[in-house]
């Protein structure tokens, strides 16, 4: 084999079939030894006789597919089995968060002062005997994925770990050129930003050949909203055809994956050319998934699309009912409760409604999802340079107004990129308002945790279920002191 595609254990895992457990890899181990923490969040995954995991991250599967389509011998290989392919000349690595510099890892690091397990695990992997072997024999190491930017803040590690090339951006076209250069004995670029000219068109996006983690399949790429904190917005919007989606779901079904996570930056804009959800396209998409007789979840909805789709077509409740009477999960972005800040950083996030109505859009969308048995895991950003204390207070008030809606709300503590160069960036002190926002979110999450866990963990491995129950009760007990500070204030 010429190319092995891999990553560390926090990536090459199925999180016990529970995607949400993957978030535990963004925190340091709390109350539990790291080994047990890792066994809950990122257990080893079943592999075949050549070390291929039975499921692998979708992004790595896309790179694998691009190389295979180009006639290059490549496969995703589990990090413990790399030495089954000593002849490989390229090691391609992808990651969501190599050094725990992105949210929410950076937030847990600031709050606890301790390095999250994703960064620890990645370092162990890069210094493993397997990677040492490939470095020694002169194999080229190519890194990419959504966290590729983080290498720019670690130039010393680019040298120490012998990184040949860093690809920042959609890599399906570029990886083929880079690997061909390496195999032909030519020097590839050290750093690559994939510009709009090199981004694959819909026809050039390869379809995965082997199963993705928990059945995730992409339905669209790009987002038209242009929020200032998000790089996805720089990419052109492309929607997969139903045939492409069907083919990828079938790959997962043949591999034994029983669920589908529809992924895009806003699934409710599937098939749309703007910010208005397309009723016909969304119904066809969900009828396709339903025809496969699998459970469904979604990676991301925008809250304005939830409100528009329900108020105009009853679409959110119709889609949820289509799949039966069980709770379904999705990630959503509240980002701020402050209209002033929303106008500055995400003026188009509320479209087709006015950004001045952002607060009501959020509340209405949460109410719609609550009634439709859709459980959002929501993010809120705090710490943006323009943020004033009154903006944070507006976010606090909004979270309080969401108390009756079944959901988890996670504040994302924004660390300005300029600070990441320093060794002690994580020693920043949140303001009192920011701490209060974290308390309000924690109180909200604790209120709903037992309810959500009772159905989410229903079919989970009993031992893991017990460990998580134990962890939740420890969190509740330990949170008391932190939450009481708020009551006294």
């Amino acid at each position: 084999m010429d190319v092995v595609i891999t990553s560390d254990r926090t990536m090459i895992t199925d999180h016990h079939g529970k995607e949400f457990l993957g978030f535990m890899t963004t925190a340091p181990p709390i109350f539990l030894p790291e080994k047990i923490w890792m066994s809950i969040a990122a257990p080893k995954i079943k592999v075949n006789d050549i070390g291929e995991p039975c499921q692998a991250p979708y992004g790595l599967r896309k790179i694998e597919a691009a190389l295979l389509d180009a006639g290059i011998d490549a496969a995703v290989i589990d990090p413990d089995h790399l030495l089954k392919h000593p002849e490989a000349r390229v090691v391609a690595i992808g990651h969501h968060d190599y050094f725990a510099l992105g949210p929410p890892s950076s937030e847990w690091w600031v709050l606890t002062g301790r390095e999250p397990v994703n960064a620890r695990s990645f370092r162990r992997f890069m210094e493993s005997k397997e990677m040492e072997y490939f470095r020694r024999k002169g194999a080229k190491i190519v890194v990419g994925g959504p966290a590729a930017w983080q290498w720019l803040y670690k130039p010393e590690l680019i040298e120490r770990w012998g990184i040949t090339t860093i690809i920042d951006g959609e890599g399906e076209r570029v990886i083929v050129d880079v690997v061909r250069k390496i195999l032909d004995g030519e020097e590839p670029p050290k750093l690559i930003q994939v510009g709009v000219d090199e981004v694959p068109s819909l026809d050039e996006i390869p379809l995965i050949k082997k199963p993705s983690v928990n059945g995730l399949v992409e339905v669209s790429r790009g987002c038209p909203r242009g929020c200032r904190f998000c790089s996805v917005t720089l990419r052109p919007l492309r929607h997969y055809t139903l045939d492409m989606i069907s083919e990828e779901i079938d790959v997962n079904l043949r591999g034994g994956v029983r669920g589908v996570i529809l992924h895009s930056d806003d699934v409710l804009l599937y098939g749309s050319r703007g910010v208005y959800p397309d009723e016909g396209a969304l119904l066809k998409l969900h009828e396709l998934v339903k025809s496969k007789k699998v459970n469904i979840a979604w990676s991301h909805f925008s809250l304005s699309a939830v409100k528009y789709a329900e108020e105009n077509f009853k679409l959110v409740s119709r889609i949820s009912e289509m799949f039966g009477d069980y709770y379904k999960g999705v990630e959503v972005g509240i980002e701020t409760g402050s209209v002033r800040l929303a106008e500055k950083i995400m003026p188009a996030k509320a479209l087709p409604y006015s950004v001045k109505d952002w607060r009501n859009i959020v509340i209405d969308a949460f109410s719609i999802m609550h009634d439709a048995k859709i459980v959002p895991a929501a993010t809120l950003i705090t710490g943006i340079p323009e943020e004033r204390p009154e903006d944070t207070i507006a976010s606090i008030e909004l979270v309080e107004d969401l108390r009756d809606f079944r959901s988890l709300i996670v504040p994302m503590y924004f660390v300005p990129m300029g600070l990441l160069r320093g060794e002690s960036w994580y020693k920043r002190e949140p303001t009192e308002e920011q701490l209060e926002l974290m308390r309000v979110c924690l109180r909200h999450d604790i209120k709903w945790l037992d309810d959500i866990f009772s159905w989410y963990a229903k079919d989970m491995n009993p031992l893991v279920r017990r460990l998580i129950s134990l962890f939740i009760s420890m969190v509740k007990r330990a949170s008391r002191g932190f939450l009481e500070v708020a009551q006294e204030l």
Binding site: L152, P155, I158, E159, D168, E187, P189, K190, L191, I192, Q193, V194, G195, V196, D197, E198, L234
Partner: protein
């Protein structure tokens, strides 16, 4: 169609510094930075 920006520099520190600067200025363009092999910085596009 915008042209690709290609640079050749001598050290990784310089490569990272220039790359980040170019990313800020040209977020939509393809940028390639090679390290060592050429002593002069060289840009293939002509509009910088």
């Amino acid at each position: 169609m915008s042209e690709k920006i290609v640079l050749r520099v001598e050290s990784i520190e310089k490569a990272v510094e220039l790359f980040m600067d170019l990313q800020r200025r040209y977020p939509m363009r393809t940028i390639e930075v090679y390290v060592h092999g050429c002593s002069d910085n060289e840009r293939q596009d002509d509009d910088n």
